[in-house]
């Protein structure tokens, strides 16, 4: 097998930190008790580990451990928050507000609620990817019961003004849910002061294992949700199912490391981000997608004009990145997130999401810059659109024979 490409897809998932993996293993082979077993030390040990981890997750976001509910990941947390709160409070109203640029794990539960009789507003953000606060305010109706806005966007890395949006929700009695899957360890989250009622977390975007996540459910003022999974009444009835101590311990350790190291790590990642951006900016006709200031440094999403996305991905096999064009599937659908920012199909098709993380090095970044410069030059030599651009022809004014 060829050498594995350089991993620059940390927004898709992160490796499990070695320190995390080491903490997890004993809970598979030695401390294998069920935390719900109250009658013997196997259960007590497992329960203690689970509660320690709950405390670590709570500490990273400055919450009370009793506000943390274990789930299988951010998708389940988002489903539980959105459907659970909308259903519990449906007598207060049946209107939901969210963004057109949310992750599918938010959009699809909202769509499901629409099928059940709710109505929804999918707000288009500004061209920089950020929510227009006035437009958000204007979207609130007397029957608005729930709003869901992501903290950090998975495709373009922009950070929404959660505090401002939360305050509007508070003033209007709207329950506010935040998908923070891409935010933990990247931005400060202080739930003691943020006006947020529900927040979804994932372990595997923060160097923990896949298959485990959590939902924050505020206690003061108390937010109620309807369970979506019924059974043994685990997690105070909000989410039944035997807990997975090895996964939970992994998430706790990953969030503990994030809390202790995020400041230093983010400074290092910002340096790498700037290095990558400065290198790629030298290539003509490149466009950064999403605001550059209100953005996590871990993400750089760039469109390379006059180069087709799939051929670009094919050309840069030496790095593992994501493309804004869903070229791995048969349908050549450009990213709905980039479309919502008003990007043309061509620019959406030719976008690359670089996401860097804990194990990215300076030489990884330098290799990426030189690879991109070389391959884009090659593909542009092949591109009739680049030739037209060089000749001063405005591609958007040409009458194309669409097929």
């Amino acid at each position: 097998m060829d050498r594995m490409p350089i991993y620059l897809d940390y927004s898709a998932t992160t490796p499990v930190d070695q320190r995390v993996a080491e903490k997890m293993i004993p809970y598979l082979t030695e401390q294998y008790g069920n935390p719900a077993s109250r009658s013997h030390p196997y259960g007590w040990t497992a329960e203690k580990a689970v509660e320690n981890a709950r405390e670590e997750v709570a500490k990273l976001v400055n919450a009370d451990p009793r506000e943390i509910v274990w789930t299988s990941g951010a998708t389940e947390s988002n489903n539980l928050a959105i459907k659970g709160a909308a259903n519990f409070y449906s007598d207060k109203g049946k209107h939901i507000i969210t963004l057109a640029t949310e992750h599918k794990a938010v959009i699809d539960p909202v769509r499901e609620l629409e099928r059940q009789g709710f109505t929804a507003t999918f707000l288009e953000p500004n061209d920089d990817g950020l929510v227009d606060i006035e437009a958000f305010k204007a979207a609130i109706r007397p029957d608005t019961v729930l709003a869901s806005v992501m903290f950090v966007n998975n495709e373009i890395g922009v950070i929404q003004d959660i505090e401002a949006i939360g305050n509007i929700c508070r003033e209007n009695g709207v329950i506010f849910h935040v998908d923070a899957a891409q935010a933990t360890g990247k931005v400060e989250i202080d739930l003691a002061s943020l006006p947020v009622d529900l927040m979804a977390f994932s372990a595997h975007k923060t160097y923990g294992p896949k298959g485990i996540g959590a939902l924050y459910v505020r206690r003061k003022p108390r937010i109620r949700i309807e369970a979506q999974v019924h059974g043994g009444g685990h997690e105070r009835g909000m989410r039944s199912g035997t807990l997975a101590p090895h996964q939970i311990v992994g998430m706790g350790e990953a969030f503990r490391i994030a809390r202790l190291e995020m400041e230093e790590e983010n400074a290092r990642i910002r340096t790498l981000h700037d290095r990558l951006l400065n290198g790629l900016k030298n290539i003509e006709e490149t466009y950064v997608n999403g605001d550059l200031k209100k953005r996590v440094p871990h993400n750089l999403n760039i469109s390379f004009n006059y180069v087709e996305g799939e051929s670009l991905i094919m050309a840069i096999k030496g790095i593992a990145v994501s493309s804004g064009s869903a070229c791995t599937s048969a349908s050549l659908e450009p990213s709905y997130v980039l479309r919502a920012l008003g990007r043309t199909d061509e620019l959406a098709h030719s976008s690359i999401r670089f996401s860097i993380g804990r194990f990215t090095t300076e030489s990884d970044v330098d290799y990426t810059i030189s690879l991109l410069a070389e391959k884009i030059e090659k593909l542009r030599e092949l591109s009739p659109l680049w030739e037209m651009f060089q000749d001063g022809i405005d591609i958007s004014k040409v009458e194309w024979d669409e097929h």
């Binding site: 087709e308 051929s311 094919m314 199909d345 092949l382 009739p384 659109l385 591609i395 194309w400 097929h403």
Partner: protein, 132 residues
């Protein structure tokens, strides 16, 4: 997506990339596709005094299969008469490159590019005759 060796070869080493003088009366140009659809092919052919295609060049904005399809047809076109070129079928291109079903449209586009270039050269030659 898995590409055939032939697609990879044409993609890595595209043949006959470039442009010919579009104002030359012996050069026909075909440009097909649309940027919004993800592929645009420009094919240029030059015909000698005896009606044979002496040169062919292409530029393609599109996926690897689209680049390979257009690169392949430039090889096939050289030495053919305009009438023979017109008869090249997309199925032959798809077969030669072992294109999967989702990439058949790339071979269709290449066939369309040939037909457009041939139509252009025929139009130019008819105009030249009239002028005489």
């Amino acid at each position: 997506m898995a590409y055939s060796d032939k697609v990879l070869d044409h993609y890595e080493n595209p043949r006959n990339v470039g442009s010919l003088d579009k104002n030359d009366p012996n050069v026909g140009t075909g440009m097909v596709g649309a940027p919004a659809c993800g592929d645009v092919m420009k094919l240029m052919i030059k015909v000698d005094g005896t009606g044979l295609i002496e040169d062919a060049k292409f530029k393609t904005y599109g996926c690897g299969s689209a680049i390979a399809s257009s690169s392949l047809v430039t090889e096939w076109l050289k030495g053919k008469t305009v009438d023979e070129a017109y008869k090249i079928k997309n199925s032959a291109i798809a077969e030669e490159l072992a294109l999967p079903p989702v990439k058949i449209h790339c071979s269709v586009l290449a066939e369309d590019a040939i037909k457009a270039a041939v139509a252009d050269i025929r139009e130019k030659q008819a105009a030249t005759k009239e002028a005489k």
